[in-house]
C-alpha cells in the first residue's frame, strides 16, 4: 500500500451524480486484484473517502474510478480538475481472486455504485476464459452507466427500480431470466442487495464486495467491521475485505 499524489488525467460526469476519474501514478502497479479500493483525501474534509477501482492499466499506470456524489465530501471531489493532483492511499483490501477462478461461466451482479469494481473483475474473468453474464441494477435510466462496456464482455441484463430502463425492479428480479447456467456469482452493492442475492444462491459459490463508511482504511480503527462466522467473530471490510466469500460474513 502506498500514499501517492496521483495526477488527474480525466474527470467527467457519466450519469446522474456519477463521475468518472482517471488517475495516473506508480500506485497502480500495486493493484493485485480487481475489486480493491483507494482512500482519497479531499481538500477541506477530515476523513478520506474510500472509492473502488473500476479499471486499471498497468502499462500506462492509470486507474479509473467511478464514484457517486453521496455528500459534501464526494461533492468536493467533483471540483478537482484535470491536471491537479490527489492524495491517494492504496490500493487497499482484498479484491476478487479472478486468477483463482476457473469456472466456465460466472454471473456478475452489481447494484448502483457497486457496479464499477465489477467491471475490471468481469474483464479479467473474460481474459482468463470465463464466460460472463452481468445483471446491473440502477435506480433509474439517468443513473445507469458502463452498460456498453459490460455488453462488450457478455450478455447484460439491466434492471431499474422505476422501470425507465431494462426490467422494472431489482437485480434479483432478473435472476430467473439468466439463460446460461453459471457456477459462480460475484456481487457488489448495498448490503440489503448482497443479502438478497446470497439468499437466492444457497448452493452456488459466490463472492460479495461490501460498502461501509471507513476511518483509516488500513485496518487500524475498526470502523468498518462486519460480523463473521469464524471464531474471531468479525472482519474488517477495509483490509480483510471488501470482497468476502459468500457465507463468510453475516449480512443484516
Amino acid at each position: 500500500m502506498k500514499n501517492e499524489w496521483m495526477t488527474i488525467l480525466r474527470h467527467v460526469k457519466v450519469a446522474r451524480d456519477t463521475h468518472l476519474l482517471v488517475l495516473e501514478g506508480d500506485l497502480v502497479w500495486d493493484i493485485a486484484d480487481p475489486g480493491q479500493f483507494v482512500h482519497i483525501k479531499i481538500d477541506g474534509f477530515y476523513l478520506r473517502r474510500p472509492i473502488s477501482i473500476a479499471d486499471y492499466d498497468l502499462k500506462n499506470q492509470t486507474m479509473t474510478l467511478i464514484y457517486k456524489v453521496m455528500g459534501d465530501g464526494t461533492k468536493g471531489l467533483t471540483r478537482c480538475q484535470v491536471g491537479e493532483r490527489l492524495d491517494v492511499l492504496g490500493p487497499g483490501g482484498q479484491g476478487f481472486p479472478t486468477t483463482r477462478i476457473h469456472d466456465d461461466h460466472a454471473l456478475i451482479i452489481g447494484g448502483g455504485i457497486g457496479v464499477p469494481p465489477l467491471y475490471s473483475t468481469a474483464k479479467k474473468l473474460k481474459e482468463s476464459g470465463v464466460a460472463v453474464t452481468s445483471i446491473l441494477g440502477f435506480r433509474s435510466k439517468e443513473e445507469a452507466f458502463l452498460l456498453d462496456e459490460f455488453r462488450a464482455l457478455g450478455e447484460v441484463l439491466v434492471t431499474t427500480e422505476d422501470g425507465s430502463l431494462g426490467r422494472s425492479g431489482r437485480v434479483t428480479d432478473a435472476l430467473p431470466h439468466v439463460k446460461e447456467s453459471y457456477q459462480l456469482y460475484l456481487s457488489c452493492g448495498p448490503t440489503v442487495m448482497l443479502k438478497a442475492v446470497a439468499d437466492r444462491h444457497p448452493d452456488t459459490p459466490g463472492y460479495l464486495s461490501m460498502e461501509e463508511r471507513m476511518g483509516c482504511g488500513i485496518g487500524a480503527c475498526f470502523a468498518c467491521v462486519v460480523e463473521s462466522k469464524d471464531e474471531k467473530g468479525y472482519k474488517r471490510i477495509c483490509c480483510d475485505g471488501p470482497v468476502f466469500k459468500a457465507g463468510e460474513v453475516v449480512l443484516s
Binding site: 477530515y46 483509516c216 487500524a220 480503527c221 475498526f222 470502523a223 474471531k232
Partner: protein, 310 residues
C-alpha cells in the same frame, strides 16, 4: 537535538506516541514505517473478555474532525498479551496498555493481567461510547478515585489516568486521580457529540452519539491541560487534534510532558514519524534546544524566546 523525556515508567526517546484506539496494536502502521521511530505506543483498549463493539456506521465526518463510536472492540486481554504485545516488543519501544472495563473488578482484573507485560497503564475511565463502564468513572470524582486506587494497588507499572473532557470541572477530576495514586494523567479523551442525517432524520452514527476528535477539539484540550498543569504535580500526556510539530509545541507549552496523536493517523498514516522528524527544527525555531525546556513554558519560562514580543 535531544528529544528525550523521562516519565514514570517511560523513558521516551521523543515525546510523540500514537493515541489509543487510533493505531490498533501497531501491525497496520508497520507496513508504512519502522515503529521504533516512535517515542512509545499506546495500545487499543483492553477489556477482560473480547468485545465486538457497536453497530455501523461507526464514524462520521465533522467540521475539522470526526465522530467515532467503535465501542471498545478488542480481542480481550489474554489475546492481546499473547498475540499483540510480542509484535510490539520486537520494536524495542515503551508500551502503554489502555485498560477499560464495566466494573471496578474488571478494571482491576485487566490491569493485574496486563501490567507485567507493559511499561505503563493508561486507565481508560473516559470512553463515551459504551453503555456500561468507562465514562461514568470519568465524570464522578469519587468513582474515579476508587477505580484508580484499586488499579494502582494491583498494577506492576505506573498508572496514567485518561481523563474525560465531558465534565464541568476537569481540575477536580485530575486531583481525584492524583490523590488516588496515579503517576500521570492522559488528556483528553473525545467529547460526546452527535450528527443527524436530514434524509433519515436519525443520527448518522449507529450508536447515536459518538466521540468528537480531531483538530476541532485541540483548543479545548489545550485549555484543560493549561488548567490541570497548575493544579497537579504529576506529568500529563496531552492529546487532541495534533497534526503538526507546532501543535506538539503548543501542548508542551500548556503543560504536557509528552503527546499522543490520534485521528490524524487516519488522514496520514505517516503522521507520527513526520512530526517526530519535524520536531527539532520547530523547537529550535521557537528558541528551545530540547523538549524539557518547552514543558509548561506558558506558565514558567525556562528559556527566553528569540521572537520579539510587544
Amino acid at each position: 537535538m535531544n528529544l528525550s523525556v523521562n516519565l514514570p515508567g517511560l523513558n521516551l526517546k521523543n515525546p510523540v506516541m500514537p493515541a489509543s484506539g487510533c493505531f490498533a496494536f501497531g501491525k497496520e502502521f508497520a507496513q508504512f514505517y519502522d515503529l521504533s521511530h516512535l517515542g512509545a505506543v499506546i495500545m487499543k483498549a483492553a477489556t477482560k473478555e473480547r468485545r465486538f463493539g457497536n453497530g455501523t456506521p461507526r464514524v462520521a465526518e465533522t467540521a475539522s474532525g470526526m465522530l467515532n463510536a467503535i465501542g471498545l472492540q478488542n480481542p480481550g486481554v489474554e489475546s492481546i498479551i499473547s498475540h499483540e504485545i510480542p509484535f510490539l516488543k520486537e520494536h524495542h519501544l515503551p508500551i502503554i496498555a489502555n485498560v477499560a472495563g464495566s466494573t471496578v473488578e474488571e478494571y482491576v482484573e485487566v490491569a493485574k493481567q496486563i501490567s507485567p507485560h507493559v511499561d505503563a497503564i493508561e486507565l481508560n475511565i473516559s470512553c463515551p461510547n459504551v453503555k456500561e463502564g468507562g465514562v461514568q468513572f470519568g465524570t464522578d470524582p469519587a468513582l474515579a478515585k476508587e477505580v484508580t486506587r484499586h488499579v494502582v494497588e494491583v498494577s506492576d507499572v505506573p498508572v496514567y489516568v485518561k481523563l474525560s473532557p465531558n465534565v464541568t470541572d476537569i481540575v477536580c477530576m485530575a486531583l481525584a486521580a492524583e490523590e488516588a495514586g496515579a503517576s500521570g494523567l492522559s488528556m483528553i479523551n473525545t467529547l460526546t457529540g452527535m450528527r443527524i442525517d436530514p434524509k433519515t432524520r436519525k443520527p448518522v452514527i449507529a450508536n447515536g452519539t459518538g466521540g468528537l476528535s480531531g483538530a476541532a477539539i485541540k483548543p479545548i484540550s489545550i485549555r484543560m491541560i493549561h488548567q490541570v498543569y497548575q493544579a497537579v504535580s504529576i506529568p500529563i500526556i496531552g492529546m487532541g487534534g495534533i497534526e503538526t510539530a507546532e501543535d506538539v509545541l503548543e501542548y508542551l507549552l500548556a503543560g504536557a510532558s509528552a503527546v499522543a496523536i490520534g485521528s490524524a493517523n487516519f488522514k496520514n498514516p505517516f503522521i507520527c514519524k513526520e512530526i517526530i522528524e519535524e520536531l527539532p527544527a520547530t523547537l529550535s525555531r521557537y528558541g528551545f534546544s530540547n523538549v524539557k525546556q518547552a514543558i509548561g513554558g506558558t506558565h514558567v519560562e525556562k528559556v527566553e524566546t528569540p521572537v520579539l514580543r510587544s
